[in-house]
Symmetry: C2
Subunit: 408 residues, 2 copies
């Protein structure tokens, strides 16, 4: 053992982690001048509530009691006033609940990792969409599940067929994971009927649903569909402690991802277990950041969400218009009602990963190859475009470059 | 499944997590007036560099480029200038290394959890001291190892006996974990010879050593012993990439635990794997906190460490003096050369957990029962006292109450 290496590293076996990491590595070099990136699905920093954050840190660090609280260790479940704010916020989303139903996590990524840890044993099956958020695949894959696929837009298979497929892999179905609104990467939103169908399926499978709502607040148009947890709670007489939905929320797309604050809203027995996992994992999320986020949420949440919608909507429009103008025949794409992503399906002979290399080297434009978002390695002819960072002019220019790439 | 519960929750099986949690729960209620707590091993907030932190947040959030960096997502390995500072700091500790040998974690607790995840498969053996840091047991126990015990102060068993014991449990030895300086909970420090002995044992077992240095900077007196990693790197011609030691560092006891910043220093292949785990776990530690910590480290590290030593040393002295005065015959304790803890061994008929209940209810004084720090459930007649929070007068008073409790 020279140099030292774990003789049997659990983690290195997990291909999804490596794959996603390689893509992120590639996209990291894309800050070079002249490049137009539709790669990362990250918020535009012009939206960050910098002055309010500065004032919040100042106020907390000026008051001796708050300072001693903010810079100290804290309880694993999270800063109580922030949990109260989130519980009220969940109420507005149709999920009446108490702070005891909320645990703070370091972004919703950490929530997904904790839930994987809580539910999965090697050999179990996790049911996901295809495509789905690659960070979720990374988080779950650490616990080595098999993946099966739901297709809520096109009707799912029978419960029995999921049970049998999981049994064939030597385990059982442990959860369903879904991004219901303006999904990463597809941009699609589940209808109410599709959400009801998922709940029915989860009920037959006696499995929880992890509802990842990272983009849900960023609706530009169309009617809001209630979150799956709200529908389930209503089915149970308004009692969240009888719900099988575990809601993963985050402030990363609405306020800032830099403080790393997300949350889980779920039945109390689930929350208590997640708190234990949190304690063993990193004791607590930075308390001063939780205190600052509480102030930001109280004072700026509504206006920040409005600002974000107003910024991203014309960018989505610009991308849609440019795609209409520059895409060759045979290319189709989604038109999301919100969020940050448009999903392109190219004619079958295209390969997104090979295209990316040429796009970066020859055309100074970047995106994420769609195959990254499939647990099973499908989607070679798909790509994800994010319109969150480039200006409308850059979007028009970048999509024109994509058009040239596809025509070349 | 009504209310929903994971049918086979991995985590709930893990007894150590529950035990530690229950103790923390008990200690949490101890903020009531009049109580003197020797419980939590947390820093005194009077030490926190509040003004410097306030100025750092202000400066970063005022500069548009730094603001956009601090409030955005960031790379999983951590903020580059902070990794550079830490690499330099490690050089001063006798570990010449580069930023590529450093990955930032959310406190060293997260480093321990990541290392458990990287190295452990169910059935493997982790070798720990008895007693040892209970948070480490919580972190490792998530991956369900068996525990075996090193006794570096009294000579360890033969390598062969560790190999055989691990094989009997159906796995192999995956690592040794040790807190070498002013250990939590024992307060003891390993001599250079004992560190060399551990390296020899780890070499024979072909296993890494996780070196947890949470308290190492807080030396009040006596000569500094080089960290185990420095000794190992010297054995390998100064090449950290050939070292089997994985160093877990933290700013929590020297600057503040509230920003949640720790680090791993190790051979590059290990660091690269930990970065993958970090990415899947929570993407990155709060970037603004890393930027603030970089400023605090650059500007205040040396003076903060001096302030902490000057504050804690007389508290340790006060506790030692009071123990001499108030402890009945048959009680022994450690005299740490630094850190935050004194470890008491009571006559065999005492039980620390039962004593704690009476201490809190009848004598308004608190501590942590020592059995919490044993993976195997030993140490019923031991207790841990922390002198980090109470004043010298409170320490004298609290130890007097403990004396009355033991005599009653």
């Amino acid at each position: 053992m020279d140099p030292l290496m774990p003789t049997e590293p659990r983690y290195a076996r997990r291909a999804d982690g490596m794959k996603a990491s390689e893509i992120r590595e590639l996209l990291k070099v894309l800050n070079r001048p002249g490049i137009i990136s539709f790669g990362g699905g990250i918020p535009d920093p012009v939206l960050f509530p910098a002055d309010e954050a500065k004032e919040a840190y100042r106020a907390i660090l000026t008051d001796p009691v708050q300072m001693a609280c903010g810079l100290q260790y804290s309880v694993s479940e999270g800063f109580e006033p922030l949990r109260e704010w989130i519980a009220q916020h969940m109420g507005l989303l149709g999920v009446p609940c108490k702070p005891d139903n909320i645990v703070i996590t370091s972004g919703s990524q950490q929530a997904l990792e904790f839930l994987g840890k809580l539910f999965l044993t090697e050999g179990d099956t996790a049911i996901v969409e295809a495509p789905t958020y690659l960070g979720a695949l990374q988080a779950f894959s650490a616990y080595e599940p098999h993946y099966d696929t739901i297709t809520p837009k096109h009707g799912n298979r029978t419960p029995q067929s999921y049970v049998e497929a999981a049994a064939k892999q030597g385990g059982s179905v442990k959860f369903l994971y879904v991004v219901p609104d303006f999904a990463n990467p597809s941009g699609e939103t589940l209808t109410r009927a599709q959400r009801e169908g998922l709940l029915d399926l989860a009920g037959e499978l006696d499995a929880p649903i992890f509802e990842d709502t990272a983009y849900s607040a960023l609706r530009f148009e169309g009617e809001t569909v209630p979150c799956i947890q709200a529908i389930d709670v209503a089915r149970h007489g308004g009692d969240i402690n009888r719900s099988r939905v575990i809601y993963c929320g985050t402030f990363s797309k609405t306020l800032t991802p830099g403080l790393r604050i997300g949350w889980v809203c779920a039945a109390e027995p689930i929350v208590r277990r997640v708190v234990l996992i949190k304690q063993a994992s990193d004791l607590n999320t930075s308390n001063i950041n939780q205190m600052v986020m509480h102030r930001l949420a109280e004072r700026t949440y509504t206006t920040q969400v409005e600002k974000a919608r107003a910024l991203y909507r014309p960018r989505r429009d610009a991308m849609h218009e440019a795609l209409l103008k520059h895409m060759p025949a045979g290319v189709t794409w989604t038109k999301p009602e919100g969020g940050l992503f448009i999903w392109l399906t190219l004619p079958p002979h295209f390969n997104g990963s090979k295209l990316l290399k040429r796009a970066v080297e020859e055309f100074n434009v970047a995106f994420v190859p769609g195959s990254a978002f499939f647990a099973g390695g499908a989607g070679a002819n798909t790509i994800r475009l994010s319109y969150s960072l480039p200006t409308e002019a850059q979007i028009a220019d970048g999509v024109a470059r994509l058009g040239k790439l596809l025509a070349s």
